[in-house]
Every structure is written in C-alpha cells, then in structure tokens.
Symmetry: C2
Subunit: 226 residues, 2 copies
C-alpha cells in the first residue's frame, strides 16, 4: 500500500490536518482506482458511502437534464476531495462525477472520515471550510448565470480554466474540454458556445488551435467578462 503521507491530496485537502497515526489508518483503509476519460466515478443517485481523493487527473460534477444536456456544476482536479456532501448529508449523490482526463482516485470509507471528523477538530474545521468554499462559489456562479450574458460567462470561464489548470507549452489551455462540455459549464447550447468561440477567435481574444484554445488577450477577456 502507498503511504498516503506523500500524496498530493494529503497536502492540499482537509486531510492535511491528519496526524501520523491517522494517516496510517487512512492508508490502511483506502482503495485506489484508475478511471479512464469519460468513465464515471459515481453516478447521480448512487450511494457512495465514502469520499474520493483525486490523486491525478481532472473530473467533472454534472447533472443530466430532461432534454439530455449535461450541466456541469464544477470541475475538480488533483488534490481535491469528492463526494463529501452526500456523505455528510447521508444522501445519494446529487450529481454524477466523471473523468474529463484519465484519473487516479482513492476511495476512503465513510467510517474513517467520520472518525476523523469527530476526533480531529482541525480536520472537521477544514472539511467545513471546504464545503463553505464550494457554497460560496456555487452562489456566485448562480448570480453570474443570471446577471451575465453567455458571452461574458464564456470569457469568465476561459479565464477560470486558465487560472485553475494552467497552460501547455504551446500556450493552449491544459484542460481539454469538448465544446459541449464547455457549453455545459457556462450553461448554454453547444452551438452558441462554438459560435462565440469563433467570434472570440476573429476578435483575436483567443486562438483556436484545432480543438485546443489559446488565450491571446487576457486583459480584454477580463474586461469583457465584467
């Protein structure tokens, strides 16, 4: 078994509050999985009974609508925990979690997490803060959905992807999303998303390199998003 002590999740998530003994306990109870791009970690409605540590890769939390569109609520990356909310609420997952890029995740059973929660104040506070952070982001997203146009939201999302995931050596965005996924994040039709990307391209705000996207004028994108 790997020693969780070195793991990026241990360094970045609420788990950083765990002491040596707790980390050993963690290492003993975890199970590691590999998930290929496109596959699901868990589906909406599933009972998860634990949380998932993202060791590597990128995932999306999304919900399928009646008309077959997949609305993406959040992107998650290595270092983050997944499934905390449903575990705490004792509810089946409200959203599906799928891999956007090949992932490596560890499953930690509910009992372990609850034990840490009840015996390590710093851990419970960290977990609480992380959910609070999610809540704040969700509320702000909600407001943006109403108060901003699709164009503004696209600009905002591109900037966010740049900040959160960085760029490749050719300066294209590191997270490789399909246009459909990008549309699912900003909450619009795929065609509208593609059309606006074309516009941005013509205006030289971005450059479309095949399916990849390069941000060319960040300042202008920022201004546009406000």
């Amino acid at each position: 078994m790997n020693k969780c002590d070195q793991c990026i999740v241990r360094q970045l998530s609420s788990l950083k509050a765990l002491n040596k003994d707790e980390v050993i306990q963690l290492a003993n109870s975890k199970t590691t999985y590999k998930i290929k791009k496109g596959e699901a970690i868990f589906e909406e409605g599933e009972v998860t009974n634990g949380v998932f540590c993202i060791k590597d890769g990128v995932g999306k939390l999304s919900k399928l609508s009646a008309n077959g569109k997949d609305q993406i609520v959040k992107l998650v990356q290595s270092g983050e925990l997944l499934g905390q909310r449903s575990m705490i609420s004792n509810e089946p997952a409200n959203l599906s979690a799928k891999a956007v890029a090949d992932m490596e995740v560890c499953f930690i059973p509910k009992a372990e997490i609850l034990h840490f929660f009840n015996n390590n104040n710093q851990f419970s506070m960290n977990l609480m803060q992380s959910v609070c952070e999610d809540l704040k982001e969700s509320e702000n997203d909600k407001i943006a959905l109403v108060q901003k146009t699709v164009k503004q939201r696209l600009a905002e999302t591109l900037l966010h992807l740049y900040d959160a995931f960085g760029e490749n050596t050719d300066q294209t965005l590191k997270v490789q999303l399909t246009r459909e996924e990008l549309a699912g994040i900003i909450g619009t039709a795929t065609e509208s998303c593609i059309r606006l990307l074309s516009d941005f391209n013509k205006l030289e705000l971005i450059e479309l390199v095949g399916k990849k996207i390069k941000l060319k004028n960040i300042k202008a994108l920022k201004k546009l998003s406000e």
Copy 2:
C-alpha cells in the same frame, strides 16, 4: 435575558444539539435585535464575527449587480441560522441579508459558535449538514436556472414559497414579496415576472388578489414547472 431553551431556533437549527449548560452559555452571550422590513441585518462585504438566529420574520440573502438589480440567493425564516458561511470561512459576508418581513434576530458571537463546534460533535455535524443542504440547494438552483425557462422557474418558485411559508386564511401566499423581489429570486426582469403572473392569472393557475398571490391549480403549476 430570555432562556434560549424555548426558542424556535434552538428547536430547528444546528443548535438543537446543545446541552443544558451550553444553552445557558448561549443565552448569556447573545444579543437580541429587531429589524424592520427593508432594513439590513448585514451588508455584502461586512465582517460579521458571529451568526444570527432568526427568531421571527423572513429575510432574504441577496447580491446587488452592476446594473442595480438585486439577485436573491435564498429566503430565510424563523428557526434558521444566518452568516454561518462567512464566519466559518473567516471572510466578509458574500451576500447582504435584509428583512422581507419584520424580524427578530439574536446575534451569537463567533467565539461561542467555535467553542460549540470544537466541543460538541453533534453540533459540528449539524452545522456541517446545514451547510451541505445549502450547497445542494444552490447547485440545484443553478441547474434550474440554465435548464428551465423563466415560466417554469416562476411556477417552481411559487410552489416553493407555498411549501416553505404556507398560506394566509384567504389562501394567499404568506410571504409577501414585491414583484421585483420575486423576479430577483427567479432571475429575470421585473416586467417579465409581472407579465407571466398575468398569464398565470388568465390561465387560472393563480389568482392575483391585489399584490397578493393565491395558488389556484397546484397540480397544473407542478406540471408546468417540470
């Protein structure tokens, strides 16, 4: 000082986990306020340093946009706690809290809450669950904003107001919101909201009694909202 033991907030919120001694401690540290309709409990950007218990009345959590519109994120009522998120995150309030109907609230200093959080596992779990519940609602709202039309969201919101706040003896909705506030909840222009209410009225889904709203065909509203 009032004994918090009898208080509705104590019965409904995370505070129900407090034991006798803790309730006495709570009662000694709280301050009670009255807030008139329209007035603010706290404003966006303010540092609150504690949470507010809502003893009576109805409040709204909202954010002002650049164009002067007030987007309502959540309505809160007696029995609920307010300001938990910013307190836990150590951040200024992300939203403003204002009274929609005359309110009575108690302020509990941060130190008290943190003390309970660190010493009472049931309390910290309750608090955690309540934030998780908010998160789930916010995520679902976000999805509804994208996937549903304004008409659907209006129907949904009317049903929610009915469920959450009930009706007066004349069967009109108990929460008395202006059309502007209602528009702020569903995320649309005030005129669009008024227009759709008119339509609903003509279709006999609702009845407009002055500024009040009576739900006349709940089944049809439900169907419409899906």
